[in-house]
């Protein structure tokens, strides 16, 4: 994991504590590998986020 799923910046670039807290209540929007914006679908009981290159991650 190189990039922050919330802000898309490099995880080594400054602190991401606020992002980590926020990600408890929102799905990631950026791919952690390439920082592409992902296609995210939120369902009542879960979510999925798909990067066109690195595939899908889900809440499970």
């Amino acid at each position: 994991m190189t990039y922050c799923g919330r802000c898309g910046r490099d995880l080594a670039d400054g602190g991401h504590e606020d992002c980590a807290r926020a990600l408890a209540l929102e799905p990631p929007r950026y791919c952690g590998t390439c920082r592409r914006r992902m296609v995210v679908q939120v369902h009542p009981m879960g979510w999925s986020a798909r990067c066109s290159v690195h595939g899908e991650v889900t809440a499970d």
């Binding site: 408890a24 209540l25 929007r29 914006r37 939120v42 009981m45």
Partner: protein, 331 residues
């Protein structure tokens, strides 16, 4: 001057007459040490005029992102640098979401699209979705598709849509600071058409967007004038990339005062916890709101953000001995 809580006890609790805009400003400025008394009164009003039951609903985004409107709180506007990408849900996924929602005991399932108003493609997808859900799931279907024409209102009603959501978003006097691509009056007109059609109207708004207490009271009074069946109350969750993305999260006590004020403005309305409560109120505040005027919840996740686990809310309702409203098709 009479004490506002004494006035509300007679006017709202005993007589069922909602408070005026001026009276609501007084409620919104009740000091912290009287907040428990205010919440207890709002709860008594809710129980007397609405009953003990709590209505449970799930929501789903059929069409996410890419909206042409500029609602400053919304991460789905195509005008901002929000990271939300546009995507459509397919029909099997929609049906699955309805099934998941029904399993929680929810009686309402709301299909939402981020649009100014529905075009023929969206109406067609909504019709297909409604038919598919009705074939497999026993649940009331609501829709939230933006501003409607009279023909679209008539179509949705003929398809069995039980309730239509269209929020005022904010008070008339603050609306121009929140949205510039359409007017408060356009929203109002859609709400009136929905009411006149016989569909139940779900119409609420957001608080914590920089409006004054007077404007918060104004929103409650304008909603009371519209007299919707349901009022969803959202607390701003500042979204990255939106014009309101850097606003502070609303103070929890102010949020609780707002819940009580909305209940005292609309004693008979379904008052629903909607987005932002997890951030603004947390677990303790969620409980206090349910004991302070709220009688409906959205369970599970929202459109682009996540909520508490549905089990957390359902367990809380059981602990508070608040029965979940059972399914009763009204249309």
């Amino acid at each position: 001057m009479s004490d506002i809580l004494d006035v509300a006890r007679v006017q709202v609790l005993e007589q069922g007459i909602g408070l005026s805009q001026e009276q609501l400003v007084e409620v919104l400025t009740v000091p912290d040490d009287r907040l428990p008394e205010l919440l207890a009164l709002a709860h008594d009003v809710r129980v007397k005029w609405c009953g003990e039951e709590v209505e449970v609903e799930g929501i789903i985004s059929l069409k996410t992102g890419g909206c042409p409107e500029d609602c400053h709180f919304c991460s789905q506007s195509g005008q901002f640098t929000s990271p939300v990408r546009a995507v459509w849900l397919n029909i099997p996924e929609l049906v699955e979401a309805a099934k998941e929602t029904a399993k929680t005991g929810a009686t309402e399932f709301c299909i939402v699209a981020a649009v100014r108003g529905p075009d023929p493609r969206l109406m067609s997808q909504v019709k297909a979705g409604i038919d598919a859900i009705n074939a497999e799931v026993d649940i009331n279907i609501a829709c939230s598709l933006g501003m409607l024409t009279q023909d679209q209102v008539d179509e949705l009603k003929s398809w069995g849509v039980h309730r239509y959501n269209h929020n005022l978003e904010s008070a008339r006097s603050y609306f121009g600071d929140v949205v510039t691509t359409h007017s408060f009056e356009e929203r109002w007109d859609t709400c009136l058409m929905v009411k006149e059609s016989g569909m139940e109207l779900c119409c609420g708004g957001l608080v914590g967007m920089g409006e004054s207490l007077e404007q918060r009271a104004e929103l409650a009074a304008q909603l009371a004038e519209l007299d919707p069946h349901e009022v969803p109350l959202n607390f701003l969750n500042p979204r990255p990339g939106t014009p309101f993305g850097d606003l502070e999260i609303m103070d929890g006590k102010d949020a609780l005062r707002t819940i009580a004020a909305f209940r005292l403005a609309m004693p008979r309305t379904v008052l629903r916890y909607a987005g932002g409560r997890e951030l603004t109120l947390g677990d303790l505040g969620t409980r206090e709101g349910l004991l302070g005027g709220i009688n409906a919840v959205i369970v599970g996740n929202y459109l682009t953000t996540l909520g508490r686990p549905a089990t957390a809310d359902l367990d809380l309702l059981a602990e508070l001995k608040m029965p979940v409203k059972e399914l009763q098709k009204t249309l």
